[in-house]
Amino acid sequence: MLDYYNITEEFSEEEKLVAATTKSFTDNEVLPIIEKYYSDGKFPMDLIKTLGELGLLAVTLPTKYGGSELNYVSYGIAMQELERGDSGIRSFASVQNSLVIYPIFTYGTDEQKNKFLPKLASGEFVGCFGLTEPDFGSNPGGMLTTATKTPKGYILNGAKMWITNGSIADIAVVWAKLDGKVNGFIVEKGTPGFTTIEMKGKHSLKASVTSELIFNDCLVPLNNRLEIEGLRGPLSCLNQARYGISWGAIGSAIASYETALNYAKTRIQFGKPIASFQIIQEKLVWMLNEITKAQLVSYHLGRLKDKKLDRPQQTSLAKRNNVDIALQCARLAREILGANGILNEYPVMRHMANLESVKTYEGTHDIHTLILGADITGIEAFS
């Protein structure tokens, strides 16, 4: 595995073991099956149980709720290895770890924590996170979904779109406006007035379920509200997930790089391996260069996060940079593989297509540019 600056030498014993376990999982359970699921447009449901058993769905959650109680660097390493397999598998784990378990652990009542966290950690329950709406993506603060308090509970009305795991979820963490302020609610599958529709026709993240969530006078019990108000609730979750994505993108980039490197060394044109041509070498070195920088960014961000010294803008930089370079690595790898690059015998085209989603979700590339721009100039370009 590409590790030009020997970053793994800085890993603790536990972090090395997390890397080894997740690597074996990806090599043995994901890579042999993923192309088939991807081309069939299906999520490999059978993996959920193993992901849960290995502790990959609740990496930082305390053991008393069934989590692995490891640090953020470990979480990052796990996401990197999963996305070396496929962005869809990593997306599943990101949603469960950062977008469902994190808000329930951070903003949930004891009752909610005890009821949901152990099942989410083991994979018995799948969760989803509903923030985006058909007309509100980059601007979630404008959301139209509402919650109205009644003595019997909260009544939700509205629709969410592009929701990962939506149709396979046992619970949804849904963000809706209560008296004009964004609030979070746990909505259980089967609640009357709550339906999901799986979105079809994706050319990207095909091995991941994406759905619409529809709330039609959906009555949610009073004690299913999370104890947080305002956009900072969902944004804090996104910050967790984006951190993991910054590592995940490195895994995807490594898959493209290693495929291209092996191919270039064995593909003969003009009587020699194409790796002997300077233009090919330049492309490979570009990947090496960018992946190495990305690794250092995420690794250091993880260490900051473990010391609680990180700022969300630093996560924006990592997500923005790493996904972007991963996508460029996939494109360069595709070029190096020539026609073979478009075949599903190699993973690069799948990674390339996946990364188009990853570049857009969790704050688009451009929105992160604006977040960073606002941070350094003090002037918000998007409000």
Partner: protein, 248 residues
């Protein structure tokens, strides 16, 4: 059941090995070390025996301080406790076996499990030395193990077939690939392994029975044979893959 599993720290199978400046050891600079792959089968078998019969699994390693990393892997797989017989010197199989034997005499395990060989020096000696030093029965290169009460049935692969042996506990078993499918450590167990004890012991110093006087990297000449798809050529390819490259 009191189970002792011996593990050794070996260079990663994908590492490129270079001879050190002294000409009698490998250059460890930049080399990643792992649990000897055959020992993983021994660990797994130990864990399964505990799951079936109760008891404790102890891992032991003779090696440098850095070998704690490999012991930690064993602990994360589910081993209960670990012993490191700490030495920074070069040591031979006899030294390793002697020191494991000393610890075994105190521990009195019902069974000692090891890998069939360490993939670093491939001497295949520790299991037999240990059997001799402890005066215990031993079966080596075992690919299937059944224990009922005190009766031990061990299957071993022999050229073109199987050999089935019977012995009694306490005994020594060295593991062959295929004995089981070793588990990978689960993340919660990795976390829990942090707080499991690794006891450090000083070694019993014994003179090595053998010493290394030279080490060389084999030089490989490319033969560059070109074979086509005639039956004779195919037979030759199969033969050379089997006998020369030894990969089938």
């Amino acid at each position: 059941m009191n189970i002792l599993v011996c593990i050794s720290r070996v260079p990663d199978t994908t590492t490129r090995i270079l001879v050190g400046g002294d000409g009698v050891s490998i250059d460890t600079q930049g080399v990643k070390f792992i649990v000897n792959p055959y020992d993983e089968y021994a660990i797994e078998e130990g864990l399964r025996l505990r799951e079936k019969n109760g008891g404790t699994v102890t891992a032991i390693c003779v090696g440098p301080d850095a070998a704690k990393e490999q012991l930690r892997t064993a602990l994360a797989m589910g081993v209960d406790k670990a012993v490191l017989v700490k030495t920074d010197k070069y040591f031979d199989s006899y030294f390793a076996a002697k020191n494991i034997a000393e610890v075994s005499k105190e521990m009195k395990p019902d069974i000692i499990l090891l890998g069939r060989q360490s993939i670093d020096f491939d001497s295949f000696q520790v299991p037999s030395y240990l059997a001799e030093l402890l005066e215990l029965p031993s079966v080596s290169v075992v690919s299937k193990l059944t224990i009922e009460g005190n009766k031990v049935i061990a299957e071993r692969d022999v050229e073109g077939g199987k050999e089935i042996l019977e012995t009694e506990l306490p005994c020594i078993i060295s593991a062959q690939k295929g004995l089981n499918e070793p588990r990978y450590p689960k993340l919660p167990d990795i976390m829990k392994a942090k707080s499991k004890p690794i006891e450090e012991k000083q070694p019993v110093e014994v003179e090595p029975k053998v010493s290394v006087i030279g080490m060389e990297i084999p030089s490989r000449k490319r033969i560059g044979k070109i074979l086509a798809d005639t039956d004779a050529d195919i037979e030759e390819i199969v033969k050379s893959l089997h006998e020369e490259a030894k990969i089938i």
